[in-house]
Assembly symmetry: C2
Homo-oligomer: 158 residues x 2
């Protein structure tokens, strides 16, 4: 972890807003509202949102789908210059995927104290994997957390 977040505040908000727009699509489908974009050299190369229920597939988390699409768009499995923006802290599966695909930096919105793999619940960065992304949490935290609350309020009303 360093203090160098690489992007200006405006850029950070721009990319996280794009991830947030993806998360809203998930909410509209009644999915846990998580959205993600992958940025390479300033450009968004993939975007995705959680579709676990819709696709009936446990792997359709926003991050996994975004990383999958980024590998396709970039024709390679090493995302070593790619940054992942995601509205919720990645779960341990998705955190593992960031390690496997060598994502350079992860910027997330709200912390996930139940499943988070980058400090919210467990912290994979505490272990000496061959690659560990830089992690920056709390980007648009209030908006991202509010979206999650909106989902759970709706869920309880069902």
């Amino acid at each position: 972890m360093t203090n160098e977040r690489q992007y200006s505040e405006t850029e950070l908000l721009y990319y996280m807003n794009e991830a947030y727009a993806e998360a809203r699509k998930a909410l509209e489908l009644g999915e846990v509202p998580v959205g993600a974009v992958v940025v390479w050299d300033g450009e968004i190369v993939s975007r995705a949102y959680n579709r676990r229920e819709t696709d009936k597939n446990a792997l359709r988390h926003a991050e996994l789908s975004a990383i999958n699409a980024a590998c396709g768009a970039l024709h390679g499995w090493r995302l070593h210059k790619a940054d992942l923006f995601v509205t919720l802290e990645p779960c341990v599966m998705c955190a593992g995927a960031c390690i496997s695909s060598r994502v350079k930096r992860v910027y997330y919105g709200a912390k996930d104290t139940r499943y988070g793999g980058f400090g919210g619940f467990i912290n994979l960065c505490d272990h000496e994997f061959n690659h560990i992304p830089e992690i920056y949490g709390g980007i648009m935290e209030d908006e991202c957390a509010a979206l999650m609350r909106e989902f759970f309020v709706k869920l309880r009303k069902r």
Copy 2:
């Protein structure tokens, strides 16, 4: 972890042999030789092998592909009655996928001391996730480890 492995020795060897046959396909492609099958109610519902280099995709580990295909075959994301047989201990991403998809039991061959997520390097079972599979290592361990050695010997000769 319990001592109840559910299958007879013959059944365990049968399923792991099927995973091993998948791993050999990976070896033939010059991939790290890992193979997996998912078993539901005694039937193999999916099988896959590592294709990371071939598909240029960091997510194409045998386990992730087998879980992905199993969700498709079973039309659901909850693999709560499914068992995963895999020749190498799952990495943290794939171990996380076993948790996310609620795989019931994981039977693996060789331990992975560099990336393993079920005790070889780190142990996700030490944490109170909402679901933790039962883990049984060392099934056909010698054969699975020999396959890995064969790969690395070939790699060094290239």
